[in-house]
Amino acid sequence: MKLHQALVLLAFAAVLTMAAMQLPARGDAASPANRVFNTRGEPVAGAHYISHAEKDAATPNMVTVILADYRSFDTLGETLVVFAGGIACLFILRRLKP
């Protein structure tokens, strides 16, 4: 049983590795995610953030700008996840008075 699972996982790892070999290499500045313009000539989000973050939000830390401005709803979701965790612990662990 254990062996079976290990074999399945090995096969899975092999598939993942094979597919990962087709991904852009580590550090490739021209990869689809990192370059400035995509195949259709439109700006790619990552590079756009680099060049616009300071202009748009007067904040040098790009990550902060993306986190709290460009993609601020993700962060709202993240905050709510944290909040959900708190409520969840309360809900799960609260002992009821008999």
């Binding site: 995610a33 790619v44 709510l80 965790g85 409520i87």
Partner: protein, 500 residues
């Protein structure tokens, strides 16, 4: 002015309510229920308004924080998402009205937590429906997942363990989704759903994209309880409180199915997917296997909730089968079945909640009271939903199966046809078993001695009965007006690339 904000308002109202409920509960405990119902009602209203707008005036795009899509997050209310948000919020509204009494009965003392988590769950689910951004979808997925893990964790003594299993599997599913998304992002460079689907044809080597897509489908399949990944579902639904089950079971898997629809029909060219890759065929076959397996397992169950849970596995199989067909008819069948099954399952679980509140149990061999007489309306609602599940016209369940059969025949997929037929028959077997319990005088006297103590003396209270009956009535209405639903709402959402 409000109309343009609708895509935002649906999840945001839920989030706001989730934040307000802990504060409101400090004032008055009952307020949390009222607030939850009010927020859900408001969202239902928004969703209906959004659907009306989408069908008459076209889709709504909402750019959060005012940034243009590839850079900012976008919420989209198109025919598909508007349709799903309407029935998700509608069913949730009924389930929450019903939950008022059940929560007081089964998870009293932490009702604030229940309603706050319910709001978070709904925020996550409706957010998954409206969002047009693949990573934002992950965030919403996690909100809803976290809420459902914990909602499920309270119930009978075994609930925490089943919730834990659900948590590990669900988190793995989310991790698979995120890994798949990483593959897609690295190959395409965008996270916006529309943008990705528009750039995908330019990607030269599609192997990472396909693997990424498969991983995402795998992750969503886990959430959706697609056949071999369904292990968490039965335990989770059985041991949780009736209120939590009634809330999660009808819509949780449906929204996952929605994501699957999005991925397989909108992210990638479905025709390419069908003709060049085995992915739709695999999803369809898993769906078919799940239909049979779920039905067979449901037949063996003695506990009503567990039976319904396995039946959910089977019904999710129907949706997956429709998705796997990757044809317009399959799409119609899958969407319509998502709607129908949400209503049917909600109705069945609400009735189970009625039984639990009045009888204290929902175990089949012990359902020996004269429920036909003591709880006639609950029994009638159960009957309606059961007959609809079996797929007898003119109730709603028939029509989604009809489209699925049509779609399978169109592709000459006789195996699917046979599975559909067999699964319907099995459905009939296990549901008529319950109906016999409800309506017929048992032949042998029960061997349980504590039955008399648990006898129901009266019908469930009005606040529980009303949602149940509304759902039962909705099944008839949905069945009768299904042509209108299909032509008005579902036909416009069929992706144009699918060809019609």
């Amino acid at each position: 002015m409000m109309t343009s904000h609708i895509p935002l308002l649906i999840p945001a109202t839920f989030l706001l309510a989730a934040l307000l409920i802990p504060l409101a509960a400090l004032l008055w405990r009952r307020l949390s229920w009222l607030l939850a119902v009010a927020a859900t009602g408001l969202c239902f209203f928004y969703a209906v308004k959004g659907l009306a707008h989408v069908t008459t005036a076209g889709r709504l795009h909402y750019h959060l924080a005012g940034w243009q899509p590839p850079f900012g997050i976008e919420f989209v209310l198109d025919p598909l998402s508007a349709f799903f948000s309407v029935f998700v919020t509608g069913v949730a509204l009924l389930a929450l009205i019903h939950a008022g009494r059940v929560v007081a009965h089964e998870v009293s003392g932490v009702d604030m937590g229940f309603y706050a988590l319910a709001m978070l769950l709904l925020a996550g689910l409706s957010g998954m429906v409206v969002t047009g951004d693949l990573f934002n979808l992950y965030v919403f997925l996690e909100i809803s997942a976290l809420a459902s893990y914990s909602l499920i964790a309270r119930g009978d003594p075994r609930a925490p363990l089943s919730a834990f299993r659900y948590l590990t599997l669900g988190t793995t599913g989310a991790a698979f989704y995120l890994l798949g998304l990483a593959f897609v992002y690295m190959s395409v460079g965008s996270l916006n759903l529309a943008d990705v689907s528009h750039l995908l044809p330019d990607v030269g080597d599609t192997r990472p994209v396909l693997l990424g897509l498969s991983l995402m489908v795998l992750g969503i399949g886990l959430k959706m309880a697609l056949f071999p990944l369904h292990a968490w579902l039965a335990d989770a639904y059985t041991h949780a409180s009736s209120a939590a089950t009634a809330l999660i079971a009808p819509i949780g898997t449906k929204v996952a199915a929605y994501v699957l629809l999005r991925l397989m029909f909108f992210l990638v060219d479905p025709q390419y997917l069908r003709d060049q890759t085995p992915l739709p065929a695999i999803v369809g076959c898993l769906g078919a296997a799940g239909m049979l397996w779920g039905s067979i397992m449901a037949m063996c169950q003695k506990e009503l909730k567990r039976m319904l849970a396995y039946s959910s596995v089977a019904q999710v199989g129907y949706i997956a089968l429709g998705i796997g067909l990757a044809s317009p008819l399959g799409f119609i069948g899958a969407t319509l079945h998502a709607l129908n099954h949400a209503c049917m399952k909600a109705c069945l679980f609400l009735v189970t909640g009625n039984f639990r509140v009045r009888l204290g149990h929902s175990t089949l061999p012990r359902l020996v009271d004269d429920l036909r007489r003591t709880m006639p309306w609950s029994a009638a609602a159960f009957t309606t939903a059961a007959i609809s599940m079996v797929g007898l016209p003119p109730l709603a369940g028939f029509f989604s199966k009809w489209y699925l059969v049509l779609g399978s025949i169109q592709q000459s997929n006789w195996v699917f046809v046979a599975v559909l037929v067999a699964s319907s028959l099995l459905n009939a077997v296990y549901f008529f078993r319950v109906l016999e319990r409800l309506y017929l005088t048992p032949l042998a006297p029960p061997d349980d001695t504590d039955v008399a103590a648990a006898a129901a003396t009266r019908e469930a209270p009005a606040s529980m009965l009303a949602p149940t009956l509304v759902l039962a009535g909705a099944l008839l209405v949905l069945g009768i007006f299904n042509a209108w639903i299909v032509s008005t709402f579902i036909n416009p959402m069929i992706p144009s690339r699918l060809g019609w």
